[in-house]
């Protein structure tokens, strides 16, 4: 990685870190934290779906695993919340690896893989809803005990900075993937699996690594959700709403790009929030906005917002170049 790879990430992170100094209202901070949590989960989806081309419709399986893992570890085993964060991430990676092992080994691809992930998430949701170990339908409450050691802060801004730092860390991770052998092989598998194999790429191993990383990152976001809102149940943690959010954000922002998931989450929730302000009485107005943005993105902006910007930039450059030519011709 070069300085050019790192500077945009650093600049954006610093700018975002300054926000709480300006914005102090709790609802706005809540909104920002929630949006960053979705962005983080979507970054996880993007590693597997964007770079690996394996579209999952069931990333709730990882989000929920992270959320439940930390809640159960704290409530039933008295594990420290910070340790819970690490263990929840590991649990998500393990679940990812296991789902990958079962589906990739039997050669599932494309829509079949998508459906299998959806099925896993649903099974987990039903199990979590039924088992008493997971609190059943009543869900789990993490005890309110504000102390930095418990990953609960008096000031919401601290949690915001924590989530932001993790989003930035995953931006770096994604940038590294993009610049590494692993990433090149992952993208090769996405583009053409047989051709990749012929070039010595162990496609199963590469996909397993990707789904483990993806599951880990998304579980981390689920863990942060549980830790911030201090309550989860099966329909929140393993619900299809989160699977949909985690896949929409990268598709709208720019699939397989470093910033795509963050841009997408920001756009979706930004627009959703604006719509709620103006038409809050219409129930589900934010979902209508999500749907509209998705249709627009699919119809007019393949490659998402970032793809669109890149095309505009290229066109702009083309015009500048042409302009320069004309000027130099005129000068002669």
């Amino acid at each position: 990685m070069t300085a050019r790879d790192l500077i945009p990430i650093a600049v954006l992170t610093v700018l975002a870190a300054l926000l709480p100094l300006v914005v102090t209202s709790s609802p706005v901070l809540n909104f920002l934290v929630f949006m960053l949590i979705v962005a983080l989960g979507a970054q996880g989806w993007n590693i597997l779906g964007g770079f690996g081309g394996q579209f999952s419709f069931g990333h709730a399986a990882f989000f929920g695993t992270g959320a439940y893992a930390t809640a159960i570890l704290q409530l039933r085993y008295g594990v420290n919340a910070w340790a819970g964060l690490v263990l929840a991430t590991a649990a998500g990676a393990a679940v990812g690896w296991a789902i990958g092992f079962l589906s990739f080994r039997s050669g599932l691809r494309g829509s079949y893989f998508a459906l299998v992930t959806l099925a896993f998430a649903e099974v987990f949701r039903i199990l979590a809803n039924a088992a008493s170990f997971t609190g059943g339908a009543a869900g789990l409450l993490i005890k309110l005990d504000v102390h930095p050691a418990n990953l609960q802060f008096a000031d919401r801004a601290v949690f915001y900075w924590l989530v932001l730092a993790l989003v930035a860390a995953v931006l770096l991770l994604t940038r590294w993937i993009q610049r590494s052998r692993f990433g090149a092989q992952l993208v090769a598998v996405r583009e053409n699996e047989d051709a990749a194999k012929a070039l010595g790429v162990d496609s199963l191993k590469v996909k397993l690594r990707a789904i483990a990383l993806s599951g880990g990152v998304t579980a981390l976001s689920g863990c942060l959700y549980a830790q911030y809102f201090l309550y989860i149940d099966a329909n929140i943690a393993y619900g299809s709403w989160i699977s949909v959010e985690l896949l929409l954000a990268p598709i709208i922002g720019g699939v397989g790009t470093v910033f795509g998931p963050v841009v997408g989450a920001l756009t979706l929730h930004g627009l959703g929030e604006v719509a709620k302000q103006f038409a809050g009485r219409i129930p589900g107005i934010d979902l209508i906005v999500f749907g509209t943005v998705l249709v627009l993105a699919v119809a007019f902006a393949r490659g998402g917002i970032l793809g669109l910007l890149e095309r505009l930039r290229d066109r702009g450059r083309g015009m500048v170049a042409r302009g320069a030519k004309e000027v130099s011709h005129a000068g002669r």
Binding site: A188, E191, D194, A195, K197, L199, G200
Partner: protein
């Protein structure tokens, strides 16, 4: 170096390859010819691990690799191109070739440098930053060759890399293939362009309806009545001979 021992492949009721054997010594260019549908590509797919044989063994440098995965065989040094080109369409030419180069070079800088070097050799230097999806047919064929070459193979399986090229493009690429051989890479090539086969191959195998029917120097093989019949139909050899006699 490579020993294919009585391999067969059955697709349902069709014996695509039927007890074919072949042996390669290190170095040199060997041809694999035969009419359309003879089973040449299927035989390549079995050697490179994409199609499991129904029967028979394949050994590479003394090791039985019959059951090995394609990527393991690539690691051992078996490179292949695809008759139907398989570019990573969304990536640039350089990124395409780098995937191959990463097999022996873990660092990005090394793999990229290697990719550029290979691109120069096969005449793709000017296209390095173009998306592979936008290449011409000739460009895509070169890209297939470049990617396989970037894995630094010991044995290179070329499946009709000249098909679809015009005579001047063929003239350009023949010295490239010769150059690869001169570096010590063993080449087995499927080819329909007979002029190129005559020009490049020291030895050819002939596959017809899944069976290996002849083997030897190209000139001798082309005069073999069994080969003529395989291409032109039953009785063709006798007819040609009679015609030859009448004209003489």
């Amino acid at each position: 170096m490579l020993a294919v021992d009585g391999v067969s492949k059955r697709f349902g009721g069709l014996m695509a390859v039927d007890g074919a054997s072949l042996a390669l010594e290190p170095g040199g260019i060997v041809g694999l010819i035969g009419p359309n549908g003879a089973g040449k590509t299927t035989l390549f797919s079995m050697i490179s691990g994409f199609v499991p044989p129904s029967d028979g063994r394949i050994r590479f440098e003394g090791t039985d690799i019959t059951a090995e995965e394609p990527h393991r065989r690539a690691e051992r040094g078996i490179g292949r191109t695809f008759q139907i080109v398989q570019p990573f369409a969304g990536l640039t030419v350089c990124e395409n070739i780098a995937v191959g180069a990463y097999l022996r070079h873990a660092k990005r800088a090394d793999a990229t440098a290697r990719a550029r070097e290979v691109a120069r050799r096969v005449g793709l230097a000017a296209e390095l930053d173009r998306p592979a999806g936008g290449l011409t047919v000739a460009g895509r064929k070169r890209l297939e060759l470049a990617r396989a070459l970037a894995t630094e193979p010991k044995l290179l399986l070329l499946d009709e890399v000249l098909a679809g090229l015009n005579p001047s493009e063929i003239r350009d690429i023949i010295p490239v293939i010769r150059g690869i051989r001169d570096e010590g890479v063993t080449i087995l090539m499927i080819e329909h362009v007979m002029q190129a086969v005559m020009n490049l191959c020291e030895r050819v195998y002939v596959l017809a309806q899944g069976r290996m029917i002849a083997e030897g120097p190209p000139a001798a093989v082309c005069a073999d009545p069994r080969v003529i019949e395989a291409y032109l139909g039953h009785g063709a050899a006798a007819r040609l001979k009679a015609e030859g006699a009448a004209h003489g």
